[in-house]
Amino acid sequence: MTRQYPAELPNKGPRPEEELEELKRIWATPKGFKLLTVVNNTVVGTIYIGAAFLFFVLAGILALLMRTQLAVADNNFLSQDLYNQIFTVHGTTMMFLFAVPIVEALGVMLLPQMLAARDLPFPRLSAFAMWAYIIGGLVFFSTIFYDMAPKGGWFMYPPLTLTEYSPGNNADFWLLGIGFIEISAIAGAIEIIVGVLRTRPPGMTLAKMPIFAWAMLIFAAMIVFAFPAVILATMLLELERSFGWPFFTAALGGDALLWQHLFWFFGHPEVYIIFLPAAGLVSMMIPTMAQTPLIGYRLIVVALIATGFFSFGLWVHHMFTTGIPGLSLAFFSAASMAVAIPSGIQVFSWIATIAAGKRPFRINVPSLFILGFLFIFVLGGLTGVMVAVVPFDFQAHDTYFIVAHLHYVLVGGMVFPLFATFYYWAPMVSRKMLSERLGRWAFWLMFIGFNTAFFPMHITGLAGMPRRVWTYSGYLGWDLLNSISTAGAFIMATGVLIFIIDLIRNFRLGGGGPENPWNAGTLEFLPTDVYSTRSVPHVTSREPLWDQPDLAQQVREGLHYLPNAPTGRRETIITSVIEAKPQYLMQMAGSSWTHVAAAVFTAGCFLLLTIKAVAIALISGVLAIVSFIVWAWQLDRPDQGEVDIGGGIRLPTYMTGPSSHSWWAMVIVMLVAASLFISYIFSYLYLWIVSPEVWAPAGSPALPPLTYPVNSAILLVFGSVLVYWAGKRLPPAGRLDLHLPLLTPALLMLAAAFLAGSVGVEVLGHLRMGLDPSANSYSAMVYMGSFLTGQAAFATIILCAFACGRLVSKRLDQKRSVTFDNAALLYWYTAGQGMCGLVLIHGFPRVIG
């Protein structure tokens, strides 16, 4: 067989046989019981999607129970208490255990393929996030079977959710469930941001990135800024429930609206966190179905970014009826209008692309779901603009009009594109495609059922029916509308059932399926195996598969970059942010029990705390930390020297400083921590505005004398200097004969002790003055500041100790310094946060006093 290999490609063919064997061995999926240790993104992605879909079905069954109860007036199918639990679990599960996780799962599944990366940069982190989520989610959901489910509604407004009105553990299980999704969402966000910005194939500049990658980048960035608000809110609520720190109790200077601000500062971006990736998927599928590049690519990028930002200026529109001044509402009404424009851009870009097709738009199952999405989403968007008009919301708020609106935007905006996605991308991981015939049945039943169920609810709501009522009186005449809605819900459920039948009949995990069945233009339809693509293509356009007809063949034959495994382990190419120039070869982690153990013990710790088994919870927590340490110990492999990836490019295999992926990940962690702390500062100032009368010096014990904060600050400054000094005293690389480096670890441990001391001095000062955290909202906020800095200090101290261990075992030197760099960054961040805290806690009351 003779074949001409184009000379201009990075590597020459034919490639040696052993290369493929080696790749297969290195990237092999573990078999049998050890499948639990898997980190390969397609397998993790599939399990992740499967789990999220399970929660969709479970929460959907709860919806059917509710619809059955509401089908007729004065019904007794469900009891009041059970109904209240069911609607809480339905909403919580759909939002936190289905919508966000499945989007993350799609990112894990699709992004490496779209970027032709071997895997996402932190494979164990995604697997950890998945296991933590599955365990936490299943425990949370199962509470509905034991009458222990939360019943405060999915946004859990205090004071109803305080111990006084919600005794028992029910509300704590909600906080537990949310705790898990917070952890896994942030882990996923770090993964996705670094993945999109740094693991793109050479040549894939920002302007050539697939829209889904843009959408996921913005999705992940939004998580970084939105989730910390709800993390803080859940911490405050749990502290008030468990220890009586009165953040939300008006009588002690707290405020119920603080929760609403924090929750919706997360909650509204959350809606777009769910919607943007789905819109990104639509922007990927429509060009394929129209067989033409996306019209308005730039405008869609603008729309995604603008939506990401504006969605942070909408949160008060969930609070239009709380009695806030009208002008404040106007600001948020304005932003709610502004956010409609990016959606308009996307809708008309899709229509333009459909119109641009060289042949008529292909009507098949994915495109039917997309068209259904277009109709439902536009209708939901229009009702969204209606409720953005403040006076109309006075009537519509908290009625079935809102129930209709939110299901139109969420089911229309997210679930329909998701089903299109299932049909469109199934051949990427399945040997068989899903059935066109069953798919059409599923679509029409879901589409008709959905509109039958939810359209009438607009009318029901304005006819006076509030949401979250378990029954209604027959003489109000809402029966007919509700019966229609119930019928629609069951029709829609039948559609989902048919999809499940289709899955059972046709979905078979494994390669060898049809290759690029839709003739798509993007890299995820390149031939792949466990190692992703055989070689990493040089990308020159947005639709490489259309513009480089032989690309699939070339990639499979290993003629592009990195056709082998030069370090003999898992690795992927790291490229620059804007221009995607290859910078170094990243050595990646493989299968492991460590992250599984970390997930199990983290889950165990939270769970046991929820049921107040404190001792075993602490043991579980310690085991979780040990698992994390063992996990991290296996990372940061030594430099393997420069390697050739083809095209005359030689890349280093180790990188430190702002070019390294770990530096970027640490910066994102710091952004999360900073967002959390800014939410805290907001909460402190907010409660002061509401209840200045409890603030020191007038309303509470006086502040500690200035010696306390000054000493605390001095410890922070000295600690930071010690860390800097330790950085200068790292042992030189490659000189293993040297005696143990003792000074550097000593400096680090001293710095760690200073950090602990700083937090200790601060707490001690307030205790000495007789400040009791449960006295009022001011005292609770004072200790909360130390609590947050203490948390960051705890992580920093562990990281410092870890770095010492690496130093002593000679795994850390001037060149191999990533572990130290991370510890130092986190240390300086924590010191900075601590300083801000001191200024706020000790400065602010002195200024106002």
């Binding site: 930002f309 200026g313 990188m655 760099d821």
Partner: protein
């Protein structure tokens, strides 16, 4: 710090920030107007609050004007602003793309800020309006 790789990554971050100038200023604008209005309304509950209310409206209008001017300037002089933020020239082959994204975002942000400022023209500063 020990840099061994390309120096383009911090500049890359600068370019990302440059693209987001409009929305970032919009964020600052919303924080300013909502923060100052809420604070001053809460601190100023007296009987005659017309002076305080006029001050609130003035703050909002000035903030709106300044922020719109800043974003408008960025949209008009992208190369200058990019050099300011990223301390580098725009990447040659993507300059058009990056500047277009930045400009359209800037116009959308200006519209959003106008919308928010409009409230101050049409509505009283602190009334509940219920």
């Amino acid at each position: 710090m020990r840099h061994t790789g390309s120096r383009s990554n911090p500049q890359g971050m600068g370019t990302l920030v440059f693209m987001l100038v409009g929305p970032i200023v919009w964020t600052v604008h919303l924080t300013l107007i909502y923060g100052s209005q809420s604070l001053l309304c809460a601190l100023n509950p007296g009987e005659d609050r017309s002076a305080g209310n006029a001050a609130i409206i003035a703050i909002i209008l000035v903030a709106t004007a300044v922020c719109i001017a800043a974003v408008g300037f960025s949209a008009a002089r992208p190369s200058f602003v990019h050099a300011l933020i990223a301390r580098a020239d725009l990447p040659a082959d993507q300059a058009g793309f990056i500047v277009t994204i930045m400009r359209v975002l800037a116009w959308l942000s200006i519209l959003a800020m106008l919308y928010a400022g409009l409230g101050a023209v049409m509505l009283p500063a602190c009334d509940q309006l219920r």
